[in-house]
């Protein structure tokens, strides 16, 4: 029993770090993703193509590789005192911003031209058309793919253990090694399941809320 409490405490401590990575990533990657998506749809080629290249590189290489680059790269270049946690957040934010950007772009481009034109002939400004006409429709369309990304992010936080961030998976592995037992690994899975369960409920609720109209 004492062992169970000990493992639980350790995993809860890891949960704190996991949640920190999760929420910091979302808070920064969502607005950055919107910016990147606008950049990728820009009329100006000097903006559009560099942004598209960035998206291609980030989505085309493993997050694990990006974590190592940001975690160990500065040290190899002789920059001392780079905080590992900061490195993890940079890698996650950049990675997720690019995925979010593609989801935003898909959502924005799926809105029929007629909606913009109807707004224009009614004398709405471009800003009003975006916020009063288009935005909610985009949100409705991107909720399902966003839900997927949020779940993936929960599980991806475990990658941070490879560069010594003490999140759930790290702590589970530490317990396994120090106590010579296997079950903390499965126990850690319960934490991820619970987090994903809560997120699924929230997203289902959001989907229902916007179900009052079709189109």
């Amino acid at each position: 029993m004492q062992l169970f409490t000990k493992v639980t405490m350790s995993l809860l401590e890891g949960l704190g770090t996991t949640l920190k990575i999760f929420s910091l990533t979302l808070i920064m990657a969502l607005p950055l993703g919107l910016l990147i998506s606008l950049g990728s749809m820009s009329k100006f080629k000097v903006i559009k193509y560099p942004v598209k290249t960035l998206i291609w590189i980030i989505r085309g290489t493993p997050l694990m590789l990006q974590l190592i680059v940001f975690g160990l790269g500065p040290g190899l270049l002789g920059i001392r005192g780079m905080n590992m946690f900061v490195a993890v957040i940079i890698a996650f934010v950049l990675n997720y911003a690019c995925y979010f950007a593609e989801i935003f772009r898909g959502g924005i481009e799926s809105i029929p031209k007629g909606q913009y034109e109807a707004g224009a002939v009614l004398g709405l400004t471009k800003t009003q058309v975006f916020f009063k006409v288009v935005l909610l429709q985009v949100i409705k369309r991107i909720i399902p793919p966003m839900g997927n990304e949020f779940l993936t992010l929960v599980k991806d936080t475990s990658l941070a253990n490879t560069i010594m961030i003490y999140e759930i998976t790290w702590n589970a592995k530490r317990m396994m090694n120090s106590e010579h037992i296997l079950w903390p690994l499965f126990y850690s899975g319960v934490f991820y399941l619970a987090l994903c369960g809560i997120l699924t409920l929230i997203f289902n609720h959001l989907e229902k809320k916007l179900d009052y109209y079709k189109g």
């Binding site: 909606q115 109807a118 009614l122 004398g123 709405l124 400004t125 109209y213």
Partner: protein, 260 residues
């Protein structure tokens, strides 16, 4: 004085000349129908009149004021274009209602946003909103939608959606209403309910341009009919002349193909 003068409008899409020098005038309260075969440029003309499309050359004159000049258009700011668009109400073939808003909200959205630009908005907000809503309800009632204030577009038939769209355009008190094939997307049984609403506007002396394939309706409702062919006005005149005594070969052919 003419309420609207369209002068020498030209428009190309890439290398295709879609409008080749189109000119016409209309008087206040006049109803003009535009007929013509598919691809003859009817939609493009209508879209050029209210700036959804930018004509390459020509002028649009409203109440004697040049509101568009192909030569100077590049200098016009978005804000100016927006203000000028408000002179026209536009009804699309595909309705383009806002799906997330109820019928009533669709009609009140733009007037409410525009009201914010009024100087007395802050003091009289409640009063202004109440007037806008009453006006919207009055419009919906007269279009036979008194029961449908709170219905969302997805809960309405095509004919009902198009009637909401007409109310939405009317709510801004436009000088001229432009209709682009308002019944083409509808089943034949329900075109009449929309045509009736348009007819009642004509009876109230609304100035209107109606692009339509409904020849019987064009004949019944219009003061004048314009026949477009291949980017030019091939013939125009009173409905009786156009339909019973067409002069040009192209119009004769066109009418024999669509004969009612």
């Amino acid at each position: 004085m003419a309420i609207l003068e369209v002068k020498n409008i030209k428009k190309n899409f890439g290398k295709t000349e879609v409008l080749k020098d189109v000119s016409f005038k209309m008087e206040k309260g006049e109803v003009v129908s535009i007929i013509g075969s598919s691809g003859s440029g009817k939609t493009t003309l209508l879209r050029c009149i209210n700036f959804l499309e930018k004509a390459d050359k020509g002028q649009i004159v409203l109440n004697g004021e040049v509101i568009f000049d192909g030569e100077e258009h590049k200098k016009m700011s978005n804000e100016e274009i927006r203000k000028k668009q408000l002179n026209f109400g536009f009804v699309f073939q595909s309705f383009n209602l806002f799906p997330q808003y109820s019928a009533l909200e669709n009609v009140t959205l733009a007037p409410k946003l525009l009201a914010k630009e009024r100087e007395d908005f802050k003091q009289n907000k409640a009063e202004i909103y109440r007037e806008i809503e009453e006006n919207a309800k009055r419009l919906l009632n007269s279009a036979g939608l008194g029961e449908k204030y709170d219905s969302y577009p997805c809960q309405l038939s095509g004919g009902q959606q198009q009637r909401v769209a007409i109310c939405r355009a009317l709510a801004l008190n436009p000088e001229i209403m432009l209709f682009d094939e308002p019944t083409s997307a509808l089943d034949p049984e329900i075109t009449n309910e929309v045509l009736k609403v348009i007819k009642s506007l004509a009876d109230d002396n609304m100035t209107m341009i109606i692009v339509t394939h409904e020849m019987a309706f064009a004949r019944g409702v219009s003061d004048r009919v314009i026949f477009m062919d291949n980017g030019v006005i091939a013939e125009e005149g009173k409905p009786e002349e156009i339909f019973t005594n067409p002069k040009s070969k192209r119009l004769q052919e066109f009418l024999s193909n669509v004969r009612m």
